[in-house]
Structure formats: structure tokens, C-alpha cells
């Protein structure tokens, strides 16, 4: 058990280089507290797996250090790091039985039979594999095989961290929920540090205490699920989290108000004057927008489309070329109508060059 620190880590698959575009991971610093449940969230190809492999030692980073507590393990081989990792697709040892598969990590570390047996049986029960314990692993379904992979990751009790690389991709949805809550339960019970890589936001938000959002080889935000939802620090986080994602629309700042297509909206805060070259955008969640009758004060918009998705309705509205999504329990307007879009100013964020800025209360 240990805190895992990444210090100035950067990795390029083509070797050290001065061109930042060659780097799959750009310089990053991060500490994973012992016992935390983390999710690493981001689109495919953003460097999540690279980061995981650096922690487990399957990859040696081009630059930077990996520290377990205060020991530098950057050059330490995987088998000496005491890390468990579960991969996206099931990896099983075909010629072994389920029991032997689960026992394999312990056997390799020279544990005694009396220690291995009860542990394997306990884990098999937890994963629902006990009736297949003595069948050859290769005869099982993809689901069961992935459970074996999970089991091999969970079998050792004193690992520094368990890394999950999108482990539930091949599992069917019903079982997915079940296994995810199993993992959560195991986390509470044993207090392993768990790092869970996924590109599925629901998975990330339900699993983790803290979510790390990655985008193009960089960490764009680290925070609780609420923070990611309420105050995304980068426009990407806004887009990526939530369904539909945050509305991001260009605007201009003018003292205590912003101008969207020359319509003025008064804000809660005063923002510093920005240089002309800066890209200024307003970001607001569809949940914090309200459509009011056209007479009311607000941004005049045209309704393009209203979708009823059961629990609530989603409207697509436009001011010239800029569109907004609005989520409301009930929407009275019809397609083609004009309406007034009202902003919840407490939840309105301003982004300069994709990064969140804060203003001053006044």
C-alpha cells in the first residue's frame, strides 16, 4: 500500500524528442492517495492506457519519475512493483482450470497451498465462478473469462494499486452493473487504491471518488463528479461530461455583462478585460437554462427541435448560428416558435482559450 506519485511524467512512443506532438503523454504531475478510488476518463487515444502502463511498469516513461511513497520505481520491473492490472480483453491461461488461473499470481509469488486455497474459493464465490472452478478456462464464455481476469487482479491482498483498463467492455450491461458494484464494495472492504480507466462517463462517475479527465495527452481536470459537472475547468470537460454536454458559445465580455450576438446578459461577477485575440466563450449546462415565453426578459431564440426522452425534454434552440441545448421537465414551445432563453447566472462559466476564468463578486 502506498501513495503513487507521478512526477513530470511524459511519454513518447517514438523516443525522446523536442516536438510536443510526438508525445502521447505531455508533462503531467499527479498523486494518487493510498486507498482512493479514481477514474481516468477521456476519449479513445488520449493517453489513458499509456498512463496506466507507466504506473504498472509495462512502459518506462520517456521523462519523469514514478514514486511509490518516496521510493523511485521508474526503472523497477512490473513484477517487483506489486501492482495488479486488468486489461480490456480477457486474458486467461488456456490450459489451466479456473482455479489454477486464479491461483497463478499467488503461486508465482511462492505462497503456500493452505494460503491460496481459501482465498481462491472466497474470490470465486464473490465473482460467481465457484461452480466452474475446476473446468478449463478456455471452455467458458467471454463474460466468465473476463471475470477470471478480474479475479486474478483481485486475488492478491497487499497490492499497491489495482489498475483497471476498461475491464467491462466485453461484459453485457446487466452484469456490468453488478460487477461494478462488486468492485466498489471490494474497495470499501479492503481499501485498495483503484484506478479505473474508461471512456464511459457514467462508469467513471459512479465508480470513483475522484475523476481525472484527460484530453490529448494532458490532464484537463481532477475533481469530484460534482465539480466536473458544475465547474468544468476546460471546455472539453464540459462537452465530455453530461448528456447532452455543456453549451459552449462564443461571447464578448463587457464589465458585469456578456454579449451573445449583441444581446446583453447580466452576470453575477465582473471579469477582467481580455485581450482582443483571446477566444472567449460562455459555458452553461443545459440543465441550468430555461425557456420562457418570448415576452419575458432573456436571450431571444428560435426553437429548432424538441425531443421527449421520457424523464425530461431536450430542446435545441438557436441564436443565429449558435445553438443551445435546454433540458427541462416540460417545454411548452413548438418547433419554429420564438422564445426567451433565461440563464441561471450562478452556474454560468466563462472560458478564455478553453480554460475557465473566475471573476470578482461585486
Amino acid at each position: 500500500m502506498a501513495n503513487i506519485t507521478l512526477k513530470d511524467i511524459a511519454h513518447s512512443y517514438t523516443g525522446a524528442s523536442n516536438n510536443p506532438d510526438d508525445y502521447a503523454l505531455k508533462k503531467l504531475n499527479l498523486t494518487w492517495r493510498d486507498g482512493g478510488a479514481y477514474a481516468l476518463l477521456g476519449p479513445s487515444g488520449c493517453g489513458k492506457t499509456t498512463l496506466l502502463n507507466i504506473i504498472s511498469g509495462l512502459l518506462t516513461p520517456t521523462k519523469g519519475q514514478v514514486l511509490f511513497n518516496n521510493d523511485d520505481v521508474t526503472r523497477l520491473p512490473t513484477e517487483r512493483r506489486n501492482i495488479a492490472q486488468i486489461f480490456q480483453f480477457p486474458v486467461i491461461y488456456d490450459t489451466m482450470t479456473v482455479f489454477e488461473n486464479l491461483a497463478f499470481p499467488l503461486k508465482n509469488r511462492g505462497r503456500s497451498k493452505t494460503e491460496i486455497e481459501p482465498r481462491v474459493i472466497e474470490l470465486a464465490k464473490m465473482l460467481g465462478l465457484e461452480k466452474d472452478l475446476f473446468t478449463k478456462a478456455q471452455h467458458l464464455t467471454a463474460d466468465a473469462k473476463q471475470k477470471i481476469s478480474l479475479g486474478r487482479g483481485l486475488i492478491r491482498q497487499s497490492v499497491n494499486a489495482i489498475l483497471f483498463d476498461e475491464p467491462l467492455t466485453v461484459i453485457d450491461p446487466q452484469l456490468k452493473w453488478e460487477l461494478r458494484s462488486q468492485l466498489k464494495y471490494l474497495h470499501k472492504q479492503f481499501g485498495f487504491t483503484m484506478i479505473y480507466v474508461t471512456h464511459d462517463q457514467t462508469e467513471a462517475l459512479t465508480f470513483a471518488d475522484e475523476v481525472i479527465v484527460m484530453f490529448e495527452g494532458e490532464i484537463v481536470q481532477v475533481g469530484t463528479p460534482e465539480a466536473l459537472f458544475e465547474r468544468p475547468e476546460h471546455t472539453f470537460v464540459g462537452y465530455f461530461i453530461g448528456s447532452p454536454g455543456m453549451n459552449i458559445v462564443p461571447c464578448r465580455l463587457q464589465g458585469r455583462s456578456m454579449l451573445i450576438e449583441d444581446h446583453e446578459i447580466t452576470l453575477d461577477q465582473t471579469y477582467k478585460e481580455q485581450p482582443d485575440s483571446a477566444k472567449i466563450e460562455v459555458g452553461i449546462r443545459p440543465e441550468y437554462l430555461r425557456l420562457a415565453p418570448a415576452e419575458e426578459k432573456g436571450l431571444p431564440v428560435k426553437i429548432i427541435k424538441v425531443d421527449d426522452i421520457g424523464r425530461h425534454k431536450i430542446a435545441r434552440v438557436a441564436v443565429n448560428d449558435h445553438t443551445f441545448h435546454v433540458v427541462m421537465p416540460e417545454i411548452s414551445g413548438m418547433t419554429g416558435d420564438t422564445a426567451s432563453l433565461v440563464f441561471d447566472t450562478a452556474h454560468t462559466n466563462i472560458y478564455v482559450n478553453d480554460h475557465l476564468i473566475t471573476g470578482e463578486q461585486s
Partner: protein, 294 residues
């Protein structure tokens, strides 16, 4: 109920295949079967002799010796080429400029015709002018494949290993390359030793290609003819007279068509039987222990 329409026209489609197979395999084979039950003194006169040739052959010491030599040869070949082939495949690089270099140098021996391979080694091993033979002789080794049965065997075995191990290497290498990286990564995470990786990942994943390698190498080595014929002609004495060489001697040298036909059939059945046994055993290797426990 709808009456089922039967249309026999489809059989005509099969006719060409049937004819080709008949002329290329069935009729020649039946001719051999025909010879094996008859005796001839030339001028196209045949006499029915029943099982005589088979009975004679089964009890003939000459056949026993050739058969034993053949079994011994194939066993030695398999025992050397399969492990050696796997070992070489394991050391071959997985990426980079080394891959094409290795693959091409491995494929080269396979491209040389059998009789050329025989001739190369025949000259290579000659004591008077051959690089190998002359060097060994000058170093004081008593090496002469035309006089010493051990030297003759060694020459033929080394030649076959040189010629055919590449095939095993290429097959095993193809098997190794098809293993996803995740397996090796998982093995590292699980703390598996190099030996365990070989035993539990590489070997099981190579099982199918190895089955093909063993079958091919067994059949080829069991039927070997050209190379020993070119190098030693079956000598010294009869020490390298393998079954195919013996068969040709009997059929063409002595013109004993009946006994030769009987021998061909037995030869054919032995190859068929042993290949079947190899295939069954290898395909079941993975399944056997799964019945234990539970």
C-alpha cells in the same frame, strides 16, 4: 405438406472432380493393389498369388530393417527439429529490421530443390574436396560417409536439420506473432517466470501450428528419398537404405512388382496410421485434464 423436390442434376457437377480423382489417385492406387496380389514373369502374364507377398514381406528381415531405420530416422528428425525450431523462433526479433533478415535467411534452405540439397551435402562432406569432409579429416577425425555408417547417418541427419528446421521455425514464429501483447503484460503483472510464460502462454498458443509442423515433418521425413539417394545411395552397405530407397530398389532395380506393390501399400498405411495418431493425440492434449476434478 409440401412434397420435397429432389433434383439429381447436381451430381453432374461432381463428375469432373470424380474423374480427376479417379485418374490421378484411385486408378493408380488400384493398379498397385492389383499388382500386390499377383506375380508376373514379364510379357504381361499375371498369376494370382493371394496374400503371399504381404506374408513374405511381413516376415522379411530386409523389410524389418528398412522399417526400423525409417522409424529411427523420423524420430531423430522430430526430436531435433521441433525443439530447435521452437527455440530459434523464440529468439527471433518481433519487430525492426531484424525481422525480414531473419525470415529471409530462414526461408532460403526451403527454396532449394531436394536433389540439389543432396548434391550440396554430398560434395560438402567429401573427404577429398569437400569443405566439411576435408576439414574434419585434416583435424584428425575419422569421417567418411561412404564407409562409416555413423558418419553417413550424421551427414543425412544434419543435412535434414539444415534443410527443414526453417519450416518449423517459420510456423512456430507465426504462432508466436499471433499472441496479443496483453498476454505478456498480464504474465508480468501475475509475476510469471520466463519458463511459465513459455509453458502457459506460448506453448498452448503454438499448439495448432506445432501440430502442423509435426505432421509435415513426420510425413516428409518418413518418405525421404532423394537426399539419401544422392548422398549415400542407401549405403554404406544397407545402413541408410530407408523404406523409399528399398522400395525403389525392389520395384525398379529387381523388377519385383508384386512385393514392391505390397510394400507400397503397407508403407502408405503406416504413414496414414501414424499421422492419424499424431493428429488425435495432439488435438486432445488440451482437453484431457479438463475432465479431472469438478
Amino acid at each position: 405438406m409440401i412434397a420435397k423436390q429432389t433434383n439429381q442434376k447436381a451430381w453432374f457437377m461432381v463428375l469432373p472432380v470424380f474423374l480427376v480423382v479417379a485418374f490421378s489417385a484411385v486408378i493408380p492406387l488400384m493398379t498397385v493393389v492389383n499388382y500386390s496380389f499377383q506375380d508376373t514373369f514379364g510379357s504381361n502374364q499375371f498369376f494370382w498369388v493371394g496374400m503371399t507377398w504381404f506374408r513374405d514381406l511381413i516376415h522379411s528381415e530386409r523389410f524389418h530393417d528398412a522399417f526400423l531405420r525409417q522409424i529411427m530416422f523420423s524420430s531423430i528428425i522430430l526430436a531435433i527439429e521441433i525443439p530447435l525450431g521452437i527455440a530459434i523462433a523464440l529468439t527471433m526479433p518481433k519487430k525492426g529490421w531484424g525481422v525480414p533478415v531473419c525470415l529471409i535467411s530462414m526461408a532460403l534452405p526451403l527454396l532449394i530443390p531436394w536433389n540439389v540439397v543432396g548434391t550440396i551435402w554430398q560434395i560438402f562432406g567429401r573427404v577429398d574436396i569437400g569443405l566439411l569432409g576435408h576439414t574434419l579429416a585434416s583435424l584428425g577425425f575419422d569421417y567418411n560417409y561412404t564407409q562409416d555408417p555413423v558418419a553417413a547417418w550424421l551427414t543425412i541427419i544434419i543435412m535434414d536439420v539444415w534443410h527443414w528446421t526453417s519450416l518449423v521455425v517459420l510456423l512456430a514464429y507465426a504462432g508466436l506473432c499471433s499472441i496479443p501483447d496483453a498476454y505478456y503484460q498480464a504474465a508480468k503483472i501475475d509475476g510469471a517466470s520466463r519458463l511459465a510464460v513459455f509453458r502457459y502462454i506460448q506453448l498452448p498458443k503454438m499448439q495448432r501450428v506445432l501440430l502442423i509442423a509435426i505432421l509435415l515433418r513426420f510425413m516428409d521425413s518418413f518418405m525421404i528419398y532423394t537426399e539419401p539417394f544422392v548422398i549415400t545411395g542407401g549405403g554404406p552397405g544397407n545402413s541408410t537404405t530407408f523404406m523409399s530407397i528399398d522400395l525403389v530398389k525392389m520395384a525398379i532395380g529387381q523388377f519385383d512388382l508384386g512385393p514392391a506393390a505390397a510394400m507400397s501399400l503397407i508403407y502408405f498405411l503406416v504413414i496414414l496410421l501414424l499421422s492419424y495418431v499424431f493428429y488425435t493425440v495432439m488435438s486432445n492434449i488440451g482437453e484431457e485434464s479438463s475432465n479431472g476434478g469438478a
